[in-house]
Symmetry: C2
Subunit: 455 residues, 2 copies
């Protein structure tokens, strides 16, 4: 069966940040585009809402850092202001039954004053960190290719490395927390390739402060701003189920219609891209890649209070800890605003156990954790949003996808390589800042540029 006569130059599948940027750039270049989005809203993992009481919450991404250049440029263009994430005051670390208040930073690297855990525990983590950092520096700053070093690093789990490189429970947790909370993934350390974690640190490092700033009004306002210029070309509620291509173009089918174009840009996590039925079928390397690149596991909770009460106690609103459900939480409100918002995260095994609870127990569990970090006022929020990306079939996990062992070195080359007239975008495809907004912007721009050059 031949494909239909192309109606559009390019159809973008997925109206997340990557897809919207791709569509925008093609539209600006004079190409006729159509965007097909499965959900009844645009934005994908860039999504939020304004709180009736003032302020806003971001269900997906919210932070930006100074070296995320393409995303910063986008923000400037749409007049979205950045402001420094709250940083005045002490952080809280809870390890086992100990609670520490400290003024330092140790997510992925260490800065400031150590939190006060026993010296042996701390030096264990810091010494191992130095080895981790040095090992990551040996990787090229691009998608890992297969060579002697990468094959070795890709044959073991991060859990294995942690076991061999730490001797204390604290050191062990420091790194497993990193695998769950920081950078690419949200993978339990036994699920993820050592190579993948090292690579995440190489190309998307906490040492570049990707959480340095927040966006006034929230990231969730951006999708509508970007789509405004081509709003009539965006169709929501249209999950693409099948994609047929021949030399002349691509025909895409949704439950509501059939759309034909010369090119398609599929802008979504790889496992979802793999769920579309392709005709001809995907090349086996690509098909098997999409079976091997799962999403990490997390939920984000947005808990709002009538005021940022933790500041009264000299706390910055950051909590990190191993003994409850919430391994990481942070102040996500403006310094000057009335409303206080804490963004809290539940990862990995903790997520799946927490998810078994009913709704009110889930909420109670989160609030109890926040009370341990910041005090009993945490028990009385004015709003509580559960952003459960792992239960959401159009994302399937969060923050992003990761590579189990043996995937980068055998299947990595299929991640970005176009298949006929189909090009791939989405933060998972990025070589720089994968898993972040920045990665999504970069791949959207790159895909649009490649397709524009072919039109």
């Amino acid at each position: 069966m031949p494909t239909d006569t192309p109606t559009y130059d390019c159809i973008v599948v997925g109206a997340g940040l990557a897809g919207l940027v791709a569509a925008r750039n093609l539209h600006r270049a004079g190409a006729s585009v159509l965007v097909l989005e499965a959900r009844d809203r645009i934005g994908g993992r860039m999504y939020g809402r304004a709180l009736p009481s003032g302020g806003w919450v971001d269900w997906g991404g919210q932070w930006v850092g100074p070296t995320q250049e393409r995303f910063c440029a986008l923000l400037s263009e749409y007049g979205v202001e950045r402001f420094p994430s709250p940083s005045q005051g002490r952080k809280v670390l809870i390890f086992g039954d100990q609670r520490y208040e400290f003024e330092g930073f140790f997510q992925g690297f260490f800065e400031g004053l150590p939190p006060g855990v026993p010296e042996g525990d701390w030096s264990d983590a810091i010494d191992a960190w130095a080895r981790f950092d040095a090992l990551a520096a040996r990787l090229e700053p691009e998608h890992p290719r297969s060579n002697d070093l990468t094959r070795k690093l890709d044959a073991v789990t991060f859990a294995q490395w942690i076991g061999e490189n730490t001797r204390t429970a604290f050191g062990n947790w420091y790194f497993s927390y990193m695998a769950r909370a920081v950078g690419t993934g949200c993978a339990e350390p036994e699920q993820v390739s050592l190579l993948h974690v090292l690579w995440g640190h190489r190309v998307a490092s906490q040492a570049e402060y990707p959480e340095a700033e927040l966006l006034r009004g929230g990231a969730g306002q951006l999708p509508a701003k970007i789509a405004a210029a081509f709003a009539e070309r965006v169709r929501t509620g249209e999950p693409v189920l099948r994609a047929r291509q021949d030399g002349a173009g691509v025909t895409l089918e949704t439950p509501r219609g059939r759309y034909a174009a010369r090119f398609a840009i599929v802008a979504m996590p790889p496992h979802l891209a793999g769920r579309i039925a392709y005709d001809p079928p995907l090349p086996p390397l690509r098909s098997q890649l999409t079976q091997r690149m799962p999403m990490g596991t997390c939920a984000k909770l947005l808990v709002a209070y009538d005021r940022p009460f933790w500041r009264d106690r000299g706390l910055v609103g950051t909590g990190i800890g191993n003994s409850g459900w919430v391994e990481l939480c942070a102040d996500s409100s403006e310094l000057a605003g009335d409303v206080g918002v804490i963004a809290a995260f539940v990862y990995g095994h903790r997520y799946h156990a927490w998810r078994q609870l009913n709704e009110s127990d889930r909420r109670a569990a989160i609030l109890a954790d926040l009370a341990r970090y910041f005090g009993d006022e945490a028990l009385s929020p004015i709003a509580y949003d559960e952003a459960d990306w792992t239960s959401d079939p159009w994302t399937g996990g969060g923050y992003t996808a990761f590579m189990p062992p043996g995937v980068w070195t055998s299947f990595g080359e299929a991640l970005a390589a176009p298949v006929g007239s189909i090009h791939w975008a989405g933060t998972e495809v990025a070589e720089r800042w994968p898993g972040f907004f920045e990665g999504a912007v970069r791949t959207g721009e790159a895909a649009a540029e490649r397709v524009a050059a072919l039109l």
Copy 2:
């Protein structure tokens, strides 16, 4: 949107062996069934053809062993005869540039005479095997549950274990060949959990001789025999794209129609089951499992000759070796027949490299390998079939799916657990002989029994 009024008691999705057995048993029990199959044929990985010259080839599974009771019972019922796989003569082992002829067996365990490799190499493999076997014996003969032992074994790759337990290149290859060629999987050792490989040996061991017998006329004849009793209830060319359920039943959508039933049995590899769009969405544990259970990598080549020429040289037609594309091949013809058939396998990395070749180079590469094993007559076949399951989107790899590290202990419980009115079947779901026909039969029977009890 409520589901449609059920027309059937149960719809079986997937007409592989598991789905056909489930439908047959429900039909026999008096239930009204419908089978929806994506391909334009039934049988899934049970598929073959008769050769014009006499004899037959099986593109998918072909062997059966004495302890595969449910499958043997099925064969008896349909009057399909078993006969012993050819076993007279010497096998060939090629390791590097050495070629050995020997009368022993060492796929997954050792029996008979060692092949003649240097003593240090051989004892390295055999010593490690004893440790492997003892470790596997510590597992329960059911789906691995999370406990101290399984969590430890599930946190490392099989490659890691091989590296720590062998000291020679031969010992290393012995086990990595096992991961690719034997039992569950067809995974490269760096891709698969140590726990998964051990478990495969525990519940589907080569020591029970699963390749002891072949089927007269081939396995490919069975699907039509099973379906004969309810042929009008089987619809091919109907890939299920969406599944909606509520308390009253399940509605399934294909590009051609919409079908409603009280129950559904989805009988296919988990990653394909995950590609159906479910409403309500799958529970997150199940959804994430389907992202984490890739198919192994293999192609099967069926090469037929006007006679089994290798027998003239005292060879049994088994070749095992590390230096070409074909790591395993075996005589797949009757002792008394005229035609000689060799089934040859290309696995893992070798598969993906081989697949880059064009069709005639692929064929030439395979024939050259067979010539090294058995002599130059191998260069002149009368038929050459490429059964490339890894390129086939309705299978996506072969023989079966496997678990990367960290999957069994965190997601395993979602493998067999029904979701509302949807039950899961397929060889990947089996607790005994997963990956084999026997596993498919067992899960088909079990699913039918569970659904029948609910009707």
